[in-house]
Symmetry: C2
């Protein structure tokens, strides 16, 4: 259900194609949601079938057609209903933690490799977040409340990522 809600929100802010939304998932929404193109196109088509979206096909010379989606009145109502309803608590699932419970069977090389790789991924994630900050929130004090709200989410994304990285450093230092 949450993918639907994310699509309603981003299309309400600005109509666009599946491909456009994929770009948003890689850029401005990188700290919010990610989905494969297969899942995305399928979901957009279903939402159109359910009357939440309308679709306008735009032909391009020498390129595939673009299918631009936007919200219908029903889509807007569905969005408002989702906003009014509290989210279900998300279950904790940390597969990496499980490996720490099998410490003696976890080869040292594999462990070092795993933690180092994860740390690099987190560092890359922070770079992506920094790019979002530069592009959208370069002057936080100047933002309106509704612009400042997404900025807060980016800040939390950064802090959670930093918390992970600091922890990896501590663990690595202790066991090396």
């Amino acid at each position: 259900m949450s993918l639907r809600a994310v699509l309603l929100i981003t299309l309400q802010r600005e109509p666009g194609t599946g491909y456009d939304i994929l770009q948003r998932f890689k850029a401005g929404l990188a700290h919010v949601w990610q989905a494969s193109h297969q899942q995305l196109y399928r979901e957009l088509d279903r939402m159109r079938g359910d009357g939440l979206l309308t679709c306008e096909t735009v032909s391009q010379d020498e390129r595939p057609d673009r299918k631009i989606y936007q919200l219908t009145e029903i889509g807007l109502q569905a969005l408002d209903a989702w906003l009014a309803e509290p989210l279900a608590a998300s279950p904790v699932r940390q597969p990496l933690f499980a490996k720490f419970f099998a410490w003696e069977r976890w080869p040292t090389d594999a462990r070092r490799e795993e933690l180092t790789t994860l740390r690099e991924q987190l560092k890359q994630r922070l770079k992506t977040y920094a790019a979002i900050e530069r592009e959208w929130f370069s002057d936080p004090q100047a933002l309106t409340p509704s612009q400042r709200a997404p900025w807060h989410t980016l800040r939390l994304g950064q802090r959670l990522t930093e918390t992970w990285m600091e922890w990896i450093d501590e663990v690595q230092e202790e066991v090396e």
Copy 2:
């Protein structure tokens, strides 16, 4: 796949029934993994079918039978293979963040309710984690390396939860 791995790890540490594992998910593994009893029993049966586990049925007077699972040699090999293989990067999915991108359509009451409820859930989670700490890790300095490894995961679970709570406080204070 990760549920399987978690089951291999916990059953390798100590054989037990599906119900036992459910209790572990609520207690000592609360910061690692959660699953419904339906999913759990089904997965245990499949793992037995795949030769990863053996099952010994123990009859009890006036109670349902207990089916005690433990790892086979194949199960142990599967665990070692999983430990050696790095985890795939997990996609970012934060449905709550999405609501912040629809700030103006998100009713104030619903927002306050949602953040307050989430904060209470996180506080409850910290209590659960504190109980784990008391039960298993009351003296971190006295732990062996393989006991200390799970302790590290609990510390990260705590810090991530605290980071979330601090953020909620900041957001609530700014918008109230």
